[in-house]
Subunit: 255 residues, 2 copies
């Protein structure tokens, strides 16, 4: 499994992915799920992936080579040449459709799950930051302001904290913190998601630097966040009043 | 969808189920998912259900009628007559297998999901409290001390708090509180799970009363728990230190 999270706020874009890949529970590896689709002076576009690794790599390979041109003598169509994030997401969706047509029949015959999903985030030129979720069929949706995040992979364990805490106008460092808390909840409950994490933070202000970081398994901040959060959750749980139901029935709390 | 939770501790057994059923998002009803399989002087056995409602009701119907006897002139085999919780769980599993054989071919042909899962909890005579999870194939597992809870339905949203907070020797009212916090996280993130909740608490000490309660949507304790937990999570999130990554890159927090 996998967990990848994209958060799109007024102040910027936060992308975080785990790195655990497993082919069966006894075959666990570290694979990068944060891929750079384009990194040129006018654009930075990243792709996070969940699902069948061979189908994902087929998609990334197609995008690296460029899609066949629509007119015979044109050059291949590449992410680097797309005029907008929407067109870039369309090109990714096209690659997903082609990979599905090529690979899914044989995978289905072998009983191997072939589904993938991708998060595409970034910016072209002076345009706005954008975040898309590309589904297994190649269709996609864009992240909006009302729910300013998109997830792929093992999404449920870490969703409650995002639902509670994220708003479009949350500060960027708050979003990074909440995102990492979401990962903390996930790795506690799902063995198939694990450190290290890859993180990219793109501030909305193009004058500010992009932060790219791998959080290793001994990352001091994540360890502190995890320990402190655990302690605070314990204290909070204790502070919530006990239910009256047992006392009402004459069952006294254990001495 | 559905969320049902069983917690089995040294001090007792806690069963909580939601009541929301939907056939499509535009057809939402309240159905009891907490069923009494046996309630006689020597036993109380409950069943919580998730999945296809017609398959579930087929299973409950079989159990109410009793399974055909193994020898021609014997009476039907009923939960009321089983000598142990293990045998009761086996009888439930048999009913699940029979329902599957009867109903699944037509449901599969119609493209209707037919899966169910059940939690069976209770006690027979002076025996120990027991909790079982019966899968769709009729096989089952028993709840053990290392992970003192079992879930069915929409299990992931509410699992992190259980993983963090429950131990076999947790007090019974703490378990009720943590169980309700697990439901609180679930209903915030999953529209298909909702109040009212049905709850049964069976203390390990047979001299103590069994608590049976429906928590309606305006239950004062649950409202307080939900509001207080939300407030404490907000305070805790604020108390966790902000990530250093942005400041290190020269990105100052928004004024």
């Amino acid at each position: 499994m996998t967990y990848c999270l994209g958060i799109l706020l007024r102040d910027g874009l936060v992308l975080i992915s785990d790195t655990r890949t497993n082919a069966g529970i006894d075959n666990i590896s570290i694979y990068r799920k944060m891929h750079v689709l384009a990194d040129t002076p006018d654009r930075l576009i990243l792709c996070m992936s969940a699902g069948n690794l061979s189908v994902t790599q087929n998609v990334l390979g197609q995008l690296a080579e460029g899609q066949p041109p629509l007119m015979a003598d044109d050059p291949p169509r590449r992410i680097e040449d797309m005029p907008s994030m929407f067109r870039a997401a369309q090109l990714v969706g096209e690659a997903v459709m082609i990979a599905g047509r090529e690979l899914k029949p044989a995978l289905a015959a072998a009983g191997v799950p072939s589904g993938i999903s991708l998060l595409i985030g970034g910016r072209i030129g002076g345009g706005p930051l954008a975040l898309f979720l590309v589904y297994d069929a190649g269709n996609f949706i864009e992240c909006g302001r009302d729910t300013p995040f998109l997830q792929i992979g093992a999404t449920a364990y870490g969703k409650p904290i995002l639902d509670r805490a994220l708003a479009y106008d949350s500060p960027l460092d708050e979003a990074v913190k909440v995102g990492l808390l979401s990962f903390d909840s996930t790795i506690r409950s799902d063995l198939s998601v694990g450190l290290p994490f890859d993180m990219v933070v793109m501030p909305a202000d193009p004058a500010l630097p992009v932060v790219r970081r791998r959080l290793e398994s001994d990352d001091a901040y994540f360890q502190e966040l995890s320990a402190r959060w655990s302690q605070l959750l314990n204290e909070s749980r204790t502070a919530v009043p006990d239910p009256p139901f047992l006392a009402e029935a004459g069952i006294s709390p254990r001495a």
